[in-house]
């Protein structure tokens, strides 16, 4: 068993959740504010898509965007000297895209469940829109937002399909825990794969328990 897949996975998941969290919050707040029901439904559909698509389809689209012969990929390579495909950042991109819908949907649900009277009361009490967001909406939606963040982190940690397609399975560079398990099983090293499995199991279980703990703790606070 090597340490590098564990480190790469944790690094990838940590960096990914940073982006996912911000993007998800931003998207959720934006969609909640859309007035037209039709536009809302369509936007929600697009933002949720990565959750229901096979990860290989997501990987296919990401190749389409970041491939070195594609406009964006070529731009990054020629002008910034950055090659995304088959590099560590690709693992982050795959994790962000795949875990984003979990964050977005949790945050949106949490925002929508906040009592609208509280928001309106805050406005009549002269709170600026920014204060309304940070002092009323966020604290009220926090359990759902944090829960979504934890789930998204776990999803990013377990990402396999899209990662395989755009980051590959390069030892010490893009080989994450799920990749390592796949490789070890393919090579017939069931014992090594088993160790990795135990690590993934432990982390995932802790994460789910943590989610429950956060929601219970937040629920008690008001009573």
């Amino acid at each position: 068993m090597q340490l590098s897949p564990i480190l790469i996975s944790l690094k990838t998941a940590s960096v990914a959740i940073f982006f996912t969290f911000l993007l998800g919050l931003f998207a959720a707040q934006w969609v909640v504010k859309i007035q037209s029901k039709k536009v809302k439904m369509i936007m929600d559909g697009i933002l949720t898509l990565p959750l229901v698509l096979p990860p290989t389809v997501v990987g296919f689209f990401l190749l389409f965007v970041f491939g070195v012969n594609r406009p964006l990929g070529r731009f990054l390579l020629h002008y910034l000297g950055v090659r995304i495909i088959f590099s560590w950042p690709a693992t982050v991109i795959a994790a962000v895209v795949v875990s984003f819908p979990l964050m977005y949907r949790s945050a949106r649900g949490a925002f929508e469940q906040v009592d609208q009277n509280l928001i309106m009361a805050a406005r009549t009490l002269r709170l600026s829109e920014r204060q309304v967001f940070w002092r009323i909406l966020m604290p009220q939606a926090l359990p759902g937002v944090v829960g979504g963040g934890i789930l998204a982190f776990a999803r990013g940690l377990g990402e396999f399909g899209a990662t395989a397609m755009i980051a590959g399975n390069i030892e010490n560079r893009t080989r994450t825990l799920p990749m390592a398990i796949y490789s070890e099983v393919a090579a017939g090293n069931m014992d090594t794969a088993g160790y990795y499995v135990i690590i993934v199991l432990t982390i995932s279980f802790l994460v789910v328990v943590l989610t429950n703990y956060v929601s219970i703790k937040e629920g008690n606070h008001e009573k």
């Binding site: 009592d115 009277n117 509280l118 309106m120 406005r123 009549t124 009490l125 002269r126 008001e222």
Partner: protein, 355 residues
Amino acid sequence: MSLMVDIEKKVKGFHLKVSLETEGDYLGILGASGSGKSMTLRCIAGIETPDRGRIILNDKVLFDADTNINLMPQQRNTGYLFQNYALFPHMTVEENIGIGLRLPEKNRNEQVGSMMEAFQLQGLGKKFPGQLSGGQQQRVALARCLVYKPDILMLDEPFSALDAHLKEQLQEGVRKLLKLYDGDVLMVTHSREEVYSFCQKLVVFEEGVSILYGDTKAIFKRPKYHAVARLTSCKNISPCYRVSDHQVYAMNWDLVLTSADPVTSAVKYVGVRAHDLHLVNERRVANRDNLIRWNMNKVIEDVFEYHVYLDKGDAGKAKADAILLCKVAKEKWNQRALGEEVMVNIPREAVLLLE
């Protein structure tokens, strides 16, 4: 201190069309649920935007569709007491009251402190709203509105979330607290008692339209419209037609009633409040106006009075709308000689002519 509202707004299900004015009085807004009362307050507070019209508060234009003026809620200086109080659950009482005060911390604490004292909230500053009783929550919410010295205070069904036995006690308390405030007060309610005891002026809503505006007592005395009579809880209403200048024929009851007011051609209904049907003794009756002798259909005992339902005597087969309800004090009902027939008299002044 003056408020002028003249707005229209299309909302799902109905068309809001409100026009009202008030000057320094307590104005009550009475209407059935879903008649657009709260929506009107929200338009004034700036939480909702009307489609057309104007809202002017103390010479400050809050909203004018023609000149595209639409101040943010934050700029309107209105106080809005929400039906469920909308206290921020994650903040303490102190934080709730002081949240929007843009003052140095010392001044803010002073203001919040004096407000808490005035509203009998001493010692509760560090508690969360969920730890308070309904009455305390209401006082916190009221203090939170008034600490900003709003130009107008709007109360949205302020007592509907409370238990009946708490209500009267709190109404008295709120009445005292409101003396600390000298701006306009708008109160939305569906309770005629609240309106009658709190508000000098009254506007009545029906299906989104403000149909009648005036002195509260005058409106209760002469409701003018069928809907207003119903909302001010006139229990007996019948369609009618004109017989003479002071007489109408009430179709449901098959009765000719004499009124004090002249019968105009617009009169389509006649109403009589249940308390205005006076039980009389035939031999001693002095006033022979609208004297009727009907049968007792049923009697229901209430806390302080009997509800006596009368019909014409078709062996209990009277249709529901052919029945007159008469509310009689228990004492009076019990003093009646046994077996005495039920004879009632309706004073001319009590015959309400309605459009």
